[in-house]
Amino acid sequence: MKLQYKGEKPFQPVTPSQYPQPKLLEQKPTELLTLTPWLAPIVSEGTFDPELLHRIYQPLNLTVGVTVFAVGKYTQFVQHFLESAEQFFMQGFRVHYYVFTNDPTAIPRVRLGSGRLASIIPIQGHSRWEEISTRRMETISQHIAERAHREIDYLFCLDVDMVFRNPWGPETLGDLVAAIHPGYFAVPRQQFPYERRPLSTAFVAGGEGDFYYGGAVFGGRVARVYDFTRGCHMGILADKANGIMAAWQEESHLNRRFISHKPSKVLSPEYLWDDRKPQPPSLKLIRFSTLDKDTDWLRS
């Protein structure tokens, strides 16, 4: 289905204001990389001025969408997810949560701030958790085509078994946004858990790869997310026809696609953290992280 692209918004003027002058001749070395070799910013605390960004983005009257999937026992995470999002996610912006679930009655009603909406969208459940996981790409792309492209400007696709702990703001907005997986940011690319079987469409050869991105966070302008999820879905379908399932399901396909369609902005592991790991000093502010949980029971 051909999606009509809204087109670039022209640069709106920023209101005059006082803030410190950027220091061109920085003497201290940065601990985390701040720019990829294809000139995409890597977002972490200290690389941006939140107030300045707010002043640039606020007047654009944007609506930011969020998709989460709460299927089977995962419905229990919705309350905590939404409550923490209400506290930390895109404060001051219009937000629309799309909660996909096989059991709408299990979704609690959470009090939302002004300009913020939640829609509960029924989907089919599956007996295998891998099946649920690989259908997300298809569901998201269909949802954008049928509805979301009219309602939102930017979309983030997030895992539901997570919680916001610190502000997540317009510094994350970009054409196509990926987040670095917390388990692999200090690991050489040969050790990334890419799909290594050439039969799969998610196959990544030995010398390829930039970062290992997490499947729990990705996003961007709604048209770009549509292209991206559709592309991943096609790859997943082809694999299904060939009787193969990629090593980490849709995360493998996401990583394959981000090599050939590089993200325009990369979020540091501050935006996708695993609380079980000790926090290294160079990650100053964890904003979104996993809840400690019994994965085996959840997936049964």
Partner: protein, 337 residues
């Protein structure tokens, strides 16, 4: 026995060299720590057995290639210095685009065209389609120079002005007119340059963005109070002393055609307003450019590698390349004649 000890020392030295050779490998101890942390719920058939760590390129804990300079503004615009970008990746991302270059050769300035175009052929957007838009009052004096495939010179005849300041300022009007009339249909990006310059190193797609400006070589070190912004509130180009990010050069700016159209149209309109109020900004179109880019932040900023004057400035070590540099000229001779 001596050769044995020598071999041992040599081996030790080699191992030391291996682990410390690349700035982007972690010390062995640290990398073992993190690879054990990377284990998680693992299906038996997809568990990876870690291989010996080897040098890799993109690594979040890599020491930034440039630690001596700022490589990103607080609004996420990359600041382009040598070492910050990979041309192979970028050329692939920007394949199939056409870049328009605007240059003004009015009155005596036609003399600069030959060297400008010849060096552009060697260094500017090599491998991509380029349209050189040469604005001139003497089409017959535009030199014929051999061009690479996919590149052409388009001569646009325009009027001249008596004062060099007016010639400089009316570039904004002319670019905005032609943007609407033809650039929008012919190219994806516009790069607006001064003509009394030459290319001396690579200037490629790393500069392309919806809107970009270049750091003026005379002011990249300075404080905003010392920038030669227009300081009289009566002028439309006025910037107060406590505002300002950088001092951008009037001789190298650009972006997508719609954004360059907006910028040049806006600058032309405010220059006309100033003229009606009997005021002319201290650095003419450059003053207005600076005001525009303060309130419409550029999406990329080019370092002074992209605009330098070797005769006026001492080259500091932080400038690893000089890509686009001033050609010496006699100001009195060349202006207003």
């Amino acid at each position: 026995r001596d050769p044995f000890w020598l071999c041992l020392i040599l081996l030790f030295a080699v191992l030391l060299g291996f682990y410390s050779a690349s700035p982007s490998t972690l010390s062995p101890a640290l990398s073992t720590l993190f690879s054990s942390l990377s284990e998680r719920d693992c299906h038996l058939d997809t568990c990876r057995i870690p291989e010996v760590p080897r040098y890799q390129r993109s690594h979040l804990w890599a020491v930034s290639v440039r630690v001596d300079v700022l490589v990103m503004t607080p609004w996420f615009a990359p600041i382009i210095w040598d070492g910050t970008f990979d041309s192979a990746i970028l050329d692939a991302q920007f394949r199939n685009i056409t870049v328009g270059l605007t240059v003004f050769a009015i009155k005596k300035y036609v003399v600069f065209l030959k060297l400008f175009l010849e060096t552009a052929e060697k260094h500017f957007m090599v491998g991509h389609k380029v349209n050189y838009y040469v604005f001139t009052d003497q089409p017959a004096n535009v030199p014929q120079i051999p061009l690479q495939e996919g590149r052409q010179v388009v001569v646009l005849e325009v009027r001249n002005y008596k004062r060099w300041q007016d010639i400089s300022m009316h570039r904004m009007e002319m670019i905005s007119n032609f943007s609407q009339q033809r650039f929008l249909r012919e190219v994806h990006y516009l790069v607006c340059l001064d003509v009394d310059m030459k290319f001396s190193d690579h200037v490629g797609v790393e500069i392309l963005a919806p809107l970009f400006g270049t750091l003026h070589p005379g002011f990249y070190r300075g404080d905003r109070q010392s920038f030669t912004y227009e300081r009289r509130p009566l002028s439309q180009a006025y910037i107060p002393r406590d505002e300002g990010d950088f001092y951008y050069a009037g001789g190298f700016f650009g972006g997508s055609v719609p954004e360059v159209y907006r910028l040049t149209m806006a600058c032309h309109q405010v220059m006309m307003a100033d003229q009606a109020n009997g005021i002319e900004a201290v650095w003419h179109d450059e003053s207005h450019l600076n005001r525009y880019l303060l309130y419409h932040k550029p999406s990329k900023v080019l370092s002074p590698e992209y605009l330098w004057d070797e005769h006026m400035l001492q080259r500091p070590p932080l400038l690893r390349k000089l890509r686009y540099v001033a050609v010496p000229k006699n100001h009195a001779e060349i202006r207003n004649r």
